[in-house]
């Protein structure tokens, strides 16, 4: 079979396609970064996970250390059970704190691990006891509106509250806030 220019062009065409697929995989997609190697799984219960999704990143100090493996609902405690697949290279103490944060104002939600001071590390299948739920914007807004409303309808109560808060503020800051500038840190 003799070689023709058509064969050459088809070869170029197929090579271009393979190169584009590689480009998509490496440059556009996260094929190179998605594998986090060997993992161990711990669970954490949350009362509200907000918009957390499976495969959301688990970060510690802002570095991705794992991914959310699965989200289940526990019918006994009415809580969400989130399993976290964490890279085996990273060990966390037993009293690690798990928070659900949002990346940016409207970004995706992720789990942030704040390590505690325990000597013993988390093992496969352990449960993180201390968790903080996702911030639900509607709740915050309604709370804010409720506070505003109570301020305007009951000015006396509000004034009392304000006096209280300035009092406690005095306690922490000292009689004059400027004092703290010159005083050495305790």
């Amino acid at each position: 079979m003799e070689r023709t220019t058509i064969d050459l062009w088809v070869g170029v065409f197929v090579a271009l396609g393979v190169a584009a697929l590689l480009g998509l995989a490496m440059k556009v997609g996260n094929l190179t970064t998605s594998d986090i190697g060997e993992t161990y799984t711990v669970t954490a219960n949350f009362e509200n996970i907000g918009g957390l999704k499976p495969r959301a990143p688990v970060k510690s100090a802002g570095v991705v250390v794992g991914r959310v493996g699965g989200i289940k609902f526990d019918p006994a405690s009415f809580e969400a059970v989130v399993s976290l697949n964490i890279d085996k290279r990273y060990q966390f103490p037993n009293d690690t704190f798990a928070n659900i944060y949002t990346a940016g104002l409207l970004g995706e939600q992720y789990i942030a691990l704040e390590p505690g001071g325990d000597e013993i590390n988390l093992k496969n299948g352990d449960k993180i006891a201390q968790t903080q739920d996702a911030v639900v914007l509607e709740k915050m807004i309604s709370q804010f509106l409720y506070n505003k409303a109570s301020e305007t309808t009951a000015p006396a109560v509000a004034a009392e509250k304000q006096a209280e808060s300035t009092e406690t503020g005095d306690d922490t800051l000292g009689s004059n806030p400027l004092d703290n500038l010159t005083a050495p840190a305790k």
Partner: protein, 268 residues
């Protein structure tokens, strides 16, 4: 008297609708039979690969120019439109994600399939329709050469091979077009453009799903083009009508299939 006339007219309309419906069903069945026949008689395409290679040249390589140029413009338009909306929310760095996801998930496979139906599908239909009109297919049968395995199957496999390659190139060139608008023209940070894209485009969920779509569209577009050509009445008017039907049917099928595939792929 007028009442009887009305009834007759109504009956004729109903009969027409029924006739069209049965005709569509008949064509659907014949198309499915041709698809099956192509699949079981495609052994020759693999034994003699140059039959397929020659068709890849005419369906794939010759479609490159229109695909790549459209991709570049689609990517640039996505960049401009996306930036215009995203900057209102102060997140113009997310433009890379927007362009990449839109192209890889939807626009890459769908627009490529529509262009493919217009560029390569019509050529296939016209070629096979004319082959039939000039009795080349009958001549092959006379020589005990199966036209399905010699003419239809190589074109089918060429289309199935070409579509994913064209769609991948479309996505890649479209992303480059979006980059050209976002980074040098508008001034979005290049690092943020690529890193946000990499953080949010998933290999399995986005790229592989887009690839699956393009393969399915390739099968659909090619088999429709082949069937319309094979089924065309052997006249000039018949071939021209078949060519038109190829574009219309392919476009509708691609858009409908896109919805079906997307609803399978997106798990809520």
């Amino acid at each position: 008297m007028t009442r009887v006339g009305l009834l007759v007219r109504l009956a004729r309309t109903l009969r027409n609708i029924g006739h069209r419906f049965v005709d569509r069903l008949w064509r659907l069945g014949a198309g499915a039979r041709l698809f099956w026949l192509t699949l079981i008689s495609s052994g020759e395409s693999f034994r003699r690969p140059w039959l397929v290679i020659r068709e890849v040249y005419s369906t794939g390589v010759l479609s490159l120019i229109i695909i790549l140029v459209s991709a570049f413009f689609v990517g640039m338009v996505l960049g401009l439109q996306g930036y215009n909306t995203l900057q209102r929310y102060g997140s113009s760095e997310a433009i890379g994600v927007l362009v990449a996801l839109a192209l890889v998930r939807e626009l890459g496979p769908v627009v490529t399939a529509l262009l493919f139906a217009g560029r390569a599908g019509t050529a296939i239909t016209a070629e096979i329709g004319l082959m039939k009109a000039t009795e080349q297919l009958s001549a092959m049968e006379m020589m005990a050469v199966s036209p399905v395995s010699r003419v239809i199957a190589p074109r089918f496999w060429a289309g199935v091979i070409s579509m994913p390659i064209l769609a991948t190139l479309f996505s890649m060139v479209g992303i480059l077009g979006g980059y050209m608008v976002a980074v040098p023209l508008i001034g979005v940070d290049a690092g943020a453009f690529w890193s946000q894209m990499q953080a949010n485009v998933d290999w399995r969920d986005d790229i592989v799903n887009g690839l699956i779509k393009s393969v399915v569209f390739g099968v659909a577009c090619t088999i429709i083009a082949l069937f319309e050509g094979y089924d065309a009445p052997p006249t000039a008017e018949g071939v021209s009508r078949a060519t038109t039907r190829t574009v219309v049917t392919s476009s509708l099928v691609v858009l409908g299939l896109d919805f079906v595939l997307t609803s399978f792929m997106i798990t809520v």
